[in-house]
């Protein structure tokens, strides 16, 4: 599986859920192990600044296992878990202040080199620049609203389709499109400011 969750077929998940609802501790443990990598990845990608990842992961896992009876089975279990994880993270970062614009002086040497390459060369970035690119993207996204940041990550960094994003977030597709459009405009503005400083 893409996110490293232990491989479980839909039938196995359904069977596990049924056993968990009947009070089988082993089944709950299997569900925990199944969802943990997925939850950890989502939480780490949307972690509020001052929050510890472990605390948030625990919050999400507890919410999931204590509300298993509310899972209708209309969507895959991991989608339902994603929605809980996303909402938990968004609730935590709702009041977090957005960071001011990124200045060239805030960038590391590698990140500044990426900016320079983008500004002066039409070619794709080298493989050695990928990590710095990721860090630069993270800094640029930090200035967006939490919901917009999440959508940009899912769409452009994880390469997810619109349907998939709608499943994970529970938001409708039209709203996602509008949000992505606005977030992209914001990102363009932040990136342009950075470019003005570039030599």
């Amino acid at each position: 599986m893409k996110d490293g969750s232990p491989l479980m077929t839909d039938e196995q998940v359904t069977e596990c859920l049924a056993r968990a609802r009947e009070g089988d501790e082993k089944a709950v443990l299997d569900i925990f192990n199944y969802m943990y990598p997925h939850v950890a990845k989502l939480v780490q990608a949307n972690l509020p600044v001052r929050e510890s990842a472990e605390d948030l992961i625990q919050q999400v896992c507890v919410k999931v296992v204590t509300h298993l009876d509310q899972f209708s089975g209309k969507v895959p279990l991991l989608h339902w878990v994603s929605r809980i994880a996303v909402n938990t993270c968004l609730n935590q970062i709702r009041h977090e202040k957005r960071r001011p614009e990124v200045r060239l002086a805030d960038l590391s040497e590698d990140e500044a080199a990426v900016v320079e390459h983008l500004a002066h060369s039409p070619s794709e970035l080298n493989a050695s620049d990928q990590v710095a690119s990721r860090e630069l993207v993270d800094k640029l996204l930090d200035g967006l609203k939490p919901q917009d940041r999440l959508l940009m990550r899912l769409m452009y960094l994880e390469g997810r389709q619109l349907e998939d994003i709608a499943g994970i977030t529970g938001w409708n597709k039209a709203m996602i499109k509008v949000r992505v459009f606005r977030a992209r405009a914001q990102l363009r503005k932040r990136y342009s400011l950075l470019m003005k400083e570039s030599p």
Binding site: V28, F32, N33, Q130, M195
Partner: protein
Amino acid sequence: MNPIDDQINRLFRAAQNAPSPDVAPPPFGLETRVLAAWRGAAEAPATFWDSAVLTRGLILAGIIMAVSILPALNSSSVSTSSIVGDEVTSADTSVDADAYP
């Protein structure tokens, strides 16, 4: 395409290919804490049942109170109307006596 958009797209493509950090195994004790929360929630229905019984008891007590108060209210309203009725009757009699001696 807008040169800025092109640059952002190239930046995203490179960032997308960056190796994502590995997910560490669950921290020590997390599994136990999650299971403990699940056990705690599984025991919760007893409390819920208690509160449900309490609620039903309160509703039943309310009904009994209403049923027992109703006859008293009825009788008081009847007696009031009869008093008012008597007063009206005697007033009518005195008016009749004055008008038609």
